[in-house]
């Protein structure tokens, strides 16, 4: 009877309640008479005066106390051999290889065996491994939940380390719990306190590792890369477009494993392409999709004066770049070019070209350059003479010459600002090869802020990001279940299983589709999985203790409780007769 069994503790409150009831109940002076039936029984209203009377230890009083004690013992799962229920923390390796046909069946059997070994009062917690380990059942759930989990469990994660999940399991198990790890590969350092069960059933497997559309003049072509791990039965690779099968090609992988590249013609106008391998041991890597990818064009708003624009030679720079468009409304642009700093809009990059106050001085390369910033990727500034004002500009320094900051980045509450301390009328920066590189990097820096899907083809474990202009969004999974909801217009969700995901508006309108496929050579290769059962080398005292099944004790307590209640009822009824 502990805080782990709160209902037992709550039922124990009935004991003082019964004592209080007997103490404070109305009791009158008693007279022993013969022929009490001759007296009229009239209801007696309670009179004022002393409320508490001496406790009468009647049979009914003792029976009611005993019933309360039995009830609390029954609710707390009392056993003579075990004062605390057994707590088993099951760590399931959620990597995709655990979902292979044979391995999955063995794992389900082992989970069922663990559930069978637990009594009704025992508790189980399931920890699912992954990049971030999480509790999939419990903590301290009833053993029946383990069977339900085993029936619905679908491991789909890419290869990952089990150590974070083991650490979580140890935290949950505490000093009295037991830890059971279900995996398919040997643990590098399992520790002495956990039982490791290997469920792996080695098998050959084939996986689609690459899928690409090759544009052609007349028609596009589909390039598929299939890798076999071990002996894989021959079969046919099927290609479907918009749900209709358009091609089926014999697939023969090298004996003992190897790679095969296939190129297939795609019908004109084919958009949703699905490629499937023949069924094998692991189904999760047998399917891949290709979806149309709408271009993500960066909107650039040029608010510079004409003279400044000419001095910066922006027409020449943007003519050499693609993937951008001119946007007259600065509120709708991802990049705004200005002469004076203003407040950038949300997720907007404001680029300010102005010399700082003070006398203009020339600075020649080399400069101090923050190479970690993506804006400066590939920029060398060799032979560049940079004319800048003599004042200082705030923000993170990206380019500097001595104490003079030439280019700085200011992150505001909503967007960011790139501040060029530059007098373009002098110097040669705008004519140097680094100048268009800076603008190309600028466009790529702003491209993730373009509304829409950041990527339409993802791998399991990647993050699906969709940006909209403030309207609510829904992410619907391959099984038509709503996985996430975004009210602010930015959806970000790690995808955990392969399939076609759909981003929808609140009214159900489909905004974008994202194809997620499973690619992980370590999980697709099922040749190294093993079956084993490693017992813990050191059990905690609590775990090693002999445990009794509390079910018979609970039944006995229930029978005793019913008998005591009936006896109390009989005693009271006899007294009232």
């Amino acid at each position: 009877m502990t805080f782990a069994a709160p209902f037992g503790l709550l039922a124990l409150l009935a004991v003082p309640a019964i004592v209080a009831l007997h103490l404070f109940r109305r009791r009158l002076a008693e007279r022993r008479v013969a022929g009490a039936f001759l007296f009229p029984a009239t209801p007696v209203a309670s009179d004022g005066g002393r409320r508490r009377a001496s406790l009468v230890r009647s049979p009914s009083f003792w029976l009611e106390l005993l019933a309360a004690l039995l009830l609390s013992l029954w609710l707390s799962g009392f056993t003579f051999g075990d004062l605390l229920p057994r707590h088993v923390v099951v760590l399931v390796d959620d990597s995709a290889s655990m979902g292979a046909n044979g391995t999955r069946a063995v794992a389900a059997t082992e989970l069922g065996a663990i559930a069978d070994g637990l009594g009704v009062a025992d508790e189980v917690t399931v920890v699912r491994s992954g990049t971030v380990a999480e509790v999939a059942l419990g903590p301290r759930a009833r053993p029946d939940g383990l069977r339900a989990f085993a029936a619905n469990w679908q491991p789909n994660a890419t290869a990952h380390a089990l150590q974070p999940a083991i650490d979580l399991a140890r935290d949950l198990a505490g000093s009295h719990g037991e830890i059971v790890v279900l995996t398919d590969r040997e643990l590098a350092d399992p520790g002495e306190d956990l039982r490791a069960i290997g469920c792996g059933v080695a098998a050959g497997n084939a996986a689609i590792t690459a899928l690409q559309r090759l544009p052609g003049e007349a028609a596009d072509r589909l390039q598929v890369r299939v890798v076999g791990y071990g002996e894989v039965a021959r079969g046919e690779l099927a290609v479907s477009v918009d749900g209709r099968e358009v091609a089926r090609t014999p697939l023969s992988l090298p004996a003992g494993g190897g790679e095969r590249r296939l190129e297939l013609p795609l019908p004109r106008g084919a958009e949703r392409v699905r490629v499937a391998l023949p069924p094998d041991a692991l189904a999760v890597d047998d399917v891949a999709w290709l979806l149309p990818e709408p271009p993500r064009t960066v909107a650039v708003c040029d608010r510079l004066p004409t003279a400044r624009r000419e001095a910066l030679q922006l027409h020449r720079v943007f003519a050499a770049l693609s993937g951008w468009r001119d946007e007259p409304d600065p509120a709708k642009a991802q990049v705004v070019l200005r002469e004076r700093a203003q407040s950038p809009a949300r997720d907007q990059i404001e680029v300010v070209f102005a010399a700082s106050p003070g006398a203009v001085r020339g600075h020649t390369a080399p400069f101090v350059v923050d190479r970690s910033h993506p804006l400066l990727a590939g920029a060398t500034f060799d032979g560049v003479a940079w004319q800048a004002g003599g004042g200082a500009i705030d923000g993170r320094v990206l380019v500097a010459k001595g104490a003079q900051v030439l280019l700085a980045e200011q992150v505001t509450a909503r967007g960011r600002r790139l501040r060029f301390d530059l007098d373009p009328s002098r110097g040669n920066l705008v004519r140097a090869p680094d100048w268009p590189i800076l603008f190309a990097n600028l466009l790529e820096l702003a491209r993730p802020n373009v509304p829409g899907c950041r990527a339409h083809h993802l791998r399991v474990g990647d993050e699906l990001v969709y940006r909209a202009r403030g309207e609510p969004l829904l992410l619907v999974g391959p099984d038509d279940a709503v996985l996430a909801e975004a009210r602010t217009g930015e959806l970000a969700q790690v995808v955990r299983s392969p399939g076609i995901y759909s981003v929808r508006a609140a009214n159900g309108e489909q905004l974008a589709e994202v194809a997620v496929r499973f690619v992980d050579q370590r999980e697709s290769d099922l040749r190294g999985v093993r079956r084993f059962d490693r017992a813990p080398r050191a059990l905690s005292t609590r775990a090693a203790a002999e445990r009794l099944d509390p079910a018979p004790m609970r039944r006995l307590l229930a029978v005793l409780l019913v008998l005591v209640v009936l006896a109390d009822w009989w005693v009271l009824r006899r007294g009232q007769a």
Partner: protein, 279 residues
Amino acid sequence: MPDDTRASGEPPAACDLAEVCAAWRLQLGRRRHRGRIGARRGFGPGSSLEFHDFRDYAPGDDLRHVDWSGYARSDQLRVRLHEAEVAPLVEVLVDDSPSMAVTGRKLAALRALVQALCGWARADGARSRVLALGGGEITAEELAGRGPAAPSPPAAALHAGSVRVLVTDALWREGPAALLARLTGNAARLVCLHLLDATEREPVGSGPVTLVDCEDGTRIETRLDRAALAIYAQRLARLCDGLRSLVHGSGGVFAAVTADALPVMCVRDLLPAGVVEPA
């Protein structure tokens, strides 16, 4: 209503009992008795001097009993029969239920009455025995209110023609009609002493109280006000009247006795009812 103080009613002292037995005599009634040879008229012919009847002579009859003067007048041989004289048997039937010991005074009165009845029988040349209702033979000292709380006849067989004295409070939930019919069946005389304590005849008290029945533990919450006491008196009177009617209906003698000292009970209760008479 005083509580259970048994010390308040001690059994009568031996000298008191002897005096009471000498001063009073149990009225056994005019009906013929059965029993061993004694001094009371019995059923059928016997060997007393009192004439009983004539009957035709049969060979073997004692010639001394032939009515010779009648033979001279009618020329028929007839013999003279005489009445039998027996010593009656007094069977004291005692209700030993817990209600008879609800107060010490009531239990003491019960024991005194039983001892007196046996003493009166003995003084009158009659035999006596004490039987507990629902039980066997018992002595006055053994009476302690441990018998059954139901109107059940004694376990031992009753003698035909005996004088039966029932001492009870008749505070049974069941009616006593069946018991009285059984006791009256072949008795020479039935006397019913309805013994109640004074606090039972006229209970006092006021305010709420829980009444606990001494026989079955029944608890009744009530307020002992005037109305409740009136209802109780009404029900008790109905119970007493019913018992009296049953006893009288069967030809018996009924006496309402209030527990008290034995001489007081004799003068106040037994004498007016015709149970005893001055010796």
